[in-house]
Each structure stands twice: as C-alpha cells, then as structure tokens.
Amino acid sequence: MSNTTGPDPVPAPTPDDGYDVVVIGGGIVGAAIARELAGHEVSVALVEARSDIGDGTSKANTAILHTGFDATPGTLESRMVARGYELLSRYATETGIPVEHTGAILVAWNDEELAALPGLKDKAERNGYQESALIGADEVYRLVPALGDGVLGGLTVPGESIICTWTTNLALATDAERRGVTVLLDHPVTEVTADTSGDGFTTLRTEGGDVRGRWIVNAAGLGADHLDRLFGHDRFTVTPRRGELFVFDKLARDLVNKIVLPVPTSRGKGVLVSPTVYGNVMLGPTSEDLTDRTATGTSEDGFDFLLTKGAALMPRLLEEEVTATYAGLRAAINHPDYLIEADRDRHYLLVGGIRSTGLTAGMAIAEYVRDVLADAGLVLKEREDLPDPPRMPNIGEAGTRPYQDAARIAADPAYGEIVCFCERVTAGEIRDACHTELPARTPEGLRRRTRAMNGRCQGFFCGSAVEQLMNDHSTTGGGCARTCHEVTH
C-alpha cells in the first residue's frame, strides 16, 4: 500500500489497496491536478471515462492562452487565469507546447461596443492587466487590414496568445504519468461507495473495474454534476453549451495575424476570428445552451450564424475554403465562478464550473487544489527527485517541424517521408505517436498528436495510408507489426 510519508521516491501504484488520491477526468484540469499532486509523496490515479486523454471538452475549445483581462475582478477565476497564464507560458517553453504570442484586439462595430471599451480597459486593470490600450479605427485596420467595413475603434490586449490545447493536455498527462500517476482510460465511473469498512478509502465502481482512493477529486467537466450527486451533493447543474467553429484553409492565414475578439455587450457576445498555431484561421464559436451532453454535431443554424458574422467581420475570409468544422461543449454551470470545494467528511473535492478559461487556468487550479487538499489534512511532502517534463513533438507552425529539419531527416529518413501532404505530417511522427507514452489508439487520437488528416483534403490523399501506418504500429494485440523498438524523439 502507498505511504504518504514513506521513503519510496516514486510511489508505486497500488490498485488493489487504493491510491492516496484519485482524480476523475483526463481533461486539461484533471491532468494538471494529477501532475501537480504527483510532485509530492502520494500515489495518484487519473481516471478517464473515454479512450484517450483530452477527448472531451478540452479538445474543442478556442485554444487561446488568456491573460484574464476580461474576468470578473475578485473572482477565483480571475486569480486562476492570471496565475495560470504565467505557469502555462513557462511550461509551454519547457515542454515545447506550440504557442504564438500574437496579441488580441477587441473590435467595436457599433456605438454601444465603442462605449464599452474604456470600461473593459478599467476592468483589465482591476484584474492586474496593465498593457491594454484604446486605439482608433485607423490603427485597427493597420493591424488587421482584412477586417470588414464599419470598425469604430478597438482595445489591444498584447498578451493574449494562441496555444495548442491538444499538446497542452498530452504534456500534462504524460508528465503526470512520468511522475508515477496511474492513468486509467476507459474507466467511466458508475457508482461511488463511501468508506464503509473504516479503512479510509472510497471505492469508485467503473466500467474498467473498481478504483479506490483516500481522496477523490472530481474534475469530470461535463459530467461533474452527475458525479457530484453520486457523492450525495446537489449544488449545481452543468448545462452543455455548444460552440461551433469553422477552421479555414491555411491559405487564409495571411489575412489575420492577431486574435480579433468581439466586445461583449448587452446584445450578447459575438464571435472571434483567430489564427491557430497550425497556421489556419478559426471563426467562432457560436453559443447555444443544450440539454444533450453528447450533442457534438454541427448545425445549420450554427453555420448560418457563423457565415453571417464572418461576412461582416472579414468578408475575404469567406472566400477561402473551410478545412474543418468543430462543435465543442463547454461545461457552463449555474454559478458565476469556478466552484472548487472540499468535502472533508467524505474526503472528496469538487472542481466544477471550469469554462473555456480552464485551458489557461488549469495549472493554477492544480496548485489551488493542492493547497485545499493540504488544508483538509492530506499530507503533501514535496518530492525532490522529479523527472524532467516531457519534450513534446512540435506540431505548431512557429517552430521547426520534422519535414523541415534536414539534420533530423538525415538521421532518420522516416521524418522525410511525408504521408499527410496537406499538414505535412511524416511517417516518423505517426510512428512516434503510436509508440509514445500515452500513445494514439484511434484516428482521432492520432489527429490530435500529429495533425495527420486535419488538412484541407480531409483524407482524399492520405486517409488510407495514415490508417495503414497506424494499424502497422499499433501496440494493441501483440505488439508493433513494424517491430519498432524505441521511440526516437
């Protein structure tokens, strides 16, 4: 059994007896919490209902690294986003998560929006963000010449950045695993049994078997309220809020080099236009409250809305091809702030209401959770022997990608064999993604690790070849058919 004060530097997973902490939810927030806790002498499991890390809400957000300029001052969210921005910026540099510091502009298109800008600047300052500046329409057009007619003015937010949400989630989870966290995929929790035998463990019944923990952390995102009820609480309801996005062809990338944000007003929130770290341009999201937590399809109304908004925002953008459409579900709750509360009696902690800011705030939330758990009595002694964080494969356009790297191709020709032409993904990268820690097990998982098949042809040329490579390298059912021995990145 694990030992909270024992000398063992890497706590061995102890599935039979139970873990010190079980974190439910393998999104950004859950992975960050598991990683943070595993920096201490406790045993940790990360339990995920789906077949991959980051396969829920975390995979389909707008991928912006927020400064927190527009949070509600004084809230936990405001603090977490500001702190998370610092932490994730640093972590991205250490691990190679693609980030581009593009900056953002809030653009006012009518008098009400223009009148709101000074207030937003004040709010940014109350959130501790001092770098925003009010600019005139001429300056807005100078910064983003392709904007449609009718701009009245803008507010700059130079710190806003774009980031790869997929790599962020995978880096945190991989790091967690290296620190000794047991990652349990395909383990949806169906039942919770409180400590009945008096040994201090809660038992989670899951479709992958029972998992026992002294402390349970609920970071289940869209499912957090259901899980909360299994612990006997009834304090909030998650409303799945669907956001649909268009991703435009890379040939549109020259049109926009900044994140163009809407000004929130009483008339509702507009949509944003943003470059992506993969070199595309994104338009969206819509915002639609639903009841079905599995409704990740796109809709005609959503498309019409985006096309109407896009035509006004940046008419030239609509002349470009749409490469992909996404619909993500944000876990909106009926509570104005993040909801992070410990139930000391049940040794249970809720991390709820983490909306799209959670990508930025995740690592700060992890620190906060660590402190809450320590206050609640969990003994957390820092480890001094932590492994280095992983160095993630670069799938961003700002850095050198394998197909561009002459030295790397010379050392391993697989990096010169482009399989996915649109996204320029090589056989070497697909091989690596199948053999890495937390490997790709599905085509979707491969897309998020390599970008393969994410491009403009959507598999016209490469679909079958990529699938073939993936099957060849699959490590399920008896090992890799290509007999690869080592991961080479």
Binding site: L251, G297, A406, I409, G416, C457, G463, S464
Partner: protein, 422 residues
C-alpha cells in the same frame, strides 16, 4: 526553412511538380529533346496520379489511342517518362518556394533544393470534402470523397459499408458508384443539385442503366446523421424545400473539384478567379516567368487523357523558352478571355497575339446549366465577334469543349473577350 537546413541543390533543366498524367506526359515529351535533365517530383509513393486509384477502364483514349484501366494507364505513362530519359522521383514533396525559380523539397533521401531553368506545375485537383461544402451534422466514420473511397478500396483493400448515398452529379460520381458496387456496397441514392439527368448520358463506363442507381435531382444534403458510424443523411429538394431522411452507412462526396493550388498561391502567381488554378495563356505560361502549368490544375477537371495532352503541349512551350535562353522577352500583351453565366470558367484565360492555339485546339469551359444544343457567342467590346452552334450539349459535371476557331477575328487591343452560351 529551418535554420539547421543546408540543403543539397539539384539543377535539372526542367522541374515538373506532380507525377500524374499531365506531369509524366510533359516529361516524356521534353526529355528526349533537351540536353539537360527533366526531373519529375511526385509526393506519393508511386507516380501515376489519380488514375492509380481508379480501377476501371476508359483511360488512354485520346493520348495513347487505346483503352486501358486507370492503374495500367498510370504505369504506362510512368514507364514512358522514364524510358524517355526523365528522372521520376517519388515520395518527394515540394514544400516551399526558395528564391527565383528554386524550390525546397522534402523526401526520405533528405531535404534538398531544386534550382531549374523552368518549372511545370502539374499538381492536379482534388474534390472538396464535406467540410469545405459546409454540410453540418455529426462527424461519423463512413464519410468519403471519391478519392478517399477509391484509395481505400483499390489501394488498401478496405471494407466500406453496405448502403451508400453518393453526393454529386458529375462523371466522377458514377466512378464512385462503380467502386462502391465492386466493394459490395449498394447505392441507395445519388443526390444531384442539377435539374436533369441527361448529363449522365455521356457516362460510358458501365452506364447508368447497368448500375440502376436512383437519382434525386435538384437536391442537396443538409445533414449527416449518426455516431460513431453514418446512419442516415437528411436531404432537401432545392425547389420545394421538402426534406426527408435517407438511411445509409456510407456517404461519398464526389466532384466539386478545386485545383491543388497551394504552390501557385504561395508563389504569388496570379490565380484565375474562375478555375482557382493559375491564370495561363494558350502557351500555358503562368504570371511568373519560367513557370508553366498543365493538367487539371488548370481545368478542374477534365479526363486524364486531356490532362496528359496538356503535357504534350506545354513540353513544346518549355522547349521554346529554354531555346530562347530561359529569359525570353516578355510575351506580347494579351486580352483576357472570360466566361459569362451559366458558364463558370474558361481555360486558358489569356489570348496573346502570336501565341499557339491551346492544347488540342480547344477552349475548355464549365457550365452550371444543361444546354442541349448550345450556341456559343463570343463578344468583345460590346460587339458580337462570332456565334457558333455546337452539336454536343453543354452539361454540368463535365468539361464543355469548344473549338478554338470561335475566337477568330478578335482584336488584340479591344479589351476582354467574353464567351456565353444559350
């Protein structure tokens, strides 16, 4: 380019980018006639292009004067280029322009630079996938383009579903139907935006009657339904707005071609707003001196043999360019050739005095409406220059070919020339 790249440089006389019918035929016709090397770079593992994936007959009629299957045709064109002395390098993708006429290439043999005296772009076209057509709904498995379907069935021998809906009313849509039948998948419905089915009469590779495919005209797909696999599509009649659901486990989005014009655009080469390929004259010159183009990059899409014959034509033009020292004076100022509705585009798009006739002496056009007995009208500066009745229909979904002689009598300095059909 990355800072740690110091690529080897190759210096062929001519670089052909794309090893499909147009590129291979260019190389086969050029290699024996010039001293320097003709290098064909193909990004796939084998040369041959789209016909490789298309395992039915009907290839080679106009260029090779025989009928063969797609894969046999692809092998034959590759062999011809190689035996003519061209170097055909596969798994080699041109990723960027370097400077001047130089490009950067990635292949398993390394990252290298090619600095030729002339370039022929022959990168072809692809079908717009579902996303580019902005069809909403679920994102299930079982959604293909014809290219992806034929790739899966013919090259990788994968299973598809049992019951398909084919979206599109072009020649290629019937090619998709044939592939589905071979793979044991029935076609529940073919959905076409066009008004009538006459346009399919031209399909002679098995034929509509033989395939017995039910067709819904004036219809579009408004939603894909199903998770994790396709279960149905919702379709809408464009005239009545009536909607219904068609059960299927496979959807193939066919046709709706777009040129693979990434290098054209990243090289700052002028685009033809109609075809979305590079704007060329009848010598197939692009706006960038020394850069020519051929094949379905210019006219998305005509049949493979027509693409191949572009290659024969452009080979002559490249030869002239090289003979003139690769820096011939600017070609004469020309006039634009434009298409009027219901014609969507015409290729080539520039007429210059003194230039040769276009490939095969034909202008290639695309129509959005069916015209059984088309009368082509050529106008310049408000004046009708020519009118010509043609004996073959203008049909949506395939190229409408018009004899070059219709533009006889136009003036090189009286402004744009417009073609219309009625």
């Amino acid at each position: 380019m990355s800072p740690n790249t110091s690529p080897t440089t190759l210096t062929p006389d001519v670089l052909v980018i794309g090893g499909g019918p147009a590129g291979l035929t260019t190389a086969a016709n050029l290699a024996p006639r010039i001293d320097g090397e003709v290098l064909v770079l193909e990004r796939e593992k084998e040369a041959g292009g789209i016909p490789r994936h298309s395992d039915h007959t009907g290839y080679g009629v106009r260029d090779l004067r025989r009928v063969m299957t797609g894969p046999a045709y692809a092998r034959r064109l590759t062999a011809d280029a190689v035996s003519a002395g061209a170097v055909v390098t596969t798994s080699a993708m041109v990723t960027d322009w370097a400077d001047g006429l130089a490009v950067t290439v990635t292949s398993p043999r390394g990252r290298f630079r090619v600095e030729p005296r002339a370039i022929v772009l022959a990168t072809g076209a692809r079908e717009r996938p579902r996303t580019a057509r902005r069809v909403p709904g679920d994102r299930p498995a079982g959604v293909y383009t014809t290219g992806a379907l034929q790739n899966a069935v013919h090259l990788h021998h994968r299973e598809v579903g049992r019951r398909a809906v084919v979206v599109g009313g072009e020649l290629v849509s019937w090619s998709a139907a044939l592939t589905l039948r071979e793979a044991g998948c029935s076609v529940a419905l073919m959905v076409s935006q066009y008004e009538r089915t006459e346009s399919y009469g031209a399909f002679n590779l098995g034929g509509k009657a033989l395939l017995r495919v039910p067709v819904a005209n004036r219809t579009r797909v408004v939603r894909v339904i199903g998770k994790p696999r396709v279960q149905a599509v919702e379709i809408e009649n464009l005239d009545t707005g009536a909607r219904r659901t068609v059960e299927c486990d496979t959807v193939v989005f066919t046709g709706d071609w777009i040129p693979d014009h990434e290098l054209v655009r990243s090289g700052g080469i002028e685009l033809d707003p109609g075809t979305l390929g590079p704007l060329v004259d009848t010598a197939l010159r692009t706006s960038r001196p020394g850069v020519f183009a051929a094949g379905n990059l210019l006219h998305p899409v005509d049949t493979a043999d027509i693409a191949a014959l572009d290659g024969k034509h452009v080979a002559d033009q490249v030869k002239s360019w090289l003979d003139a020292g690769g820096s011939a004076q600017d070609p004469a100022t020309g006039v634009r050739l434009l298409a009027d509705r219901p014609l969507r585009w015409v290729s080539p798009g520039i007429l210059r005095p003194g230039d040769p006739a276009p490939p095969r002496g034909r202008l290639l056009l695309w129509t959005d409406e069916f015209v059984r007995v088309p009368k082509v009208t050529v106008r310049q500066g408000g004046r009708i220059v020519n009118e010509r009745k043609l004996a073959w229909p203008a049909a949506p979904g395939r190229v409408f070919r018009v004899p070059w002689s219709v533009i006889r009598g136009i003036s090189p300095n009286a402004g744009p020339v417009t073609l219309s059909v009625g």
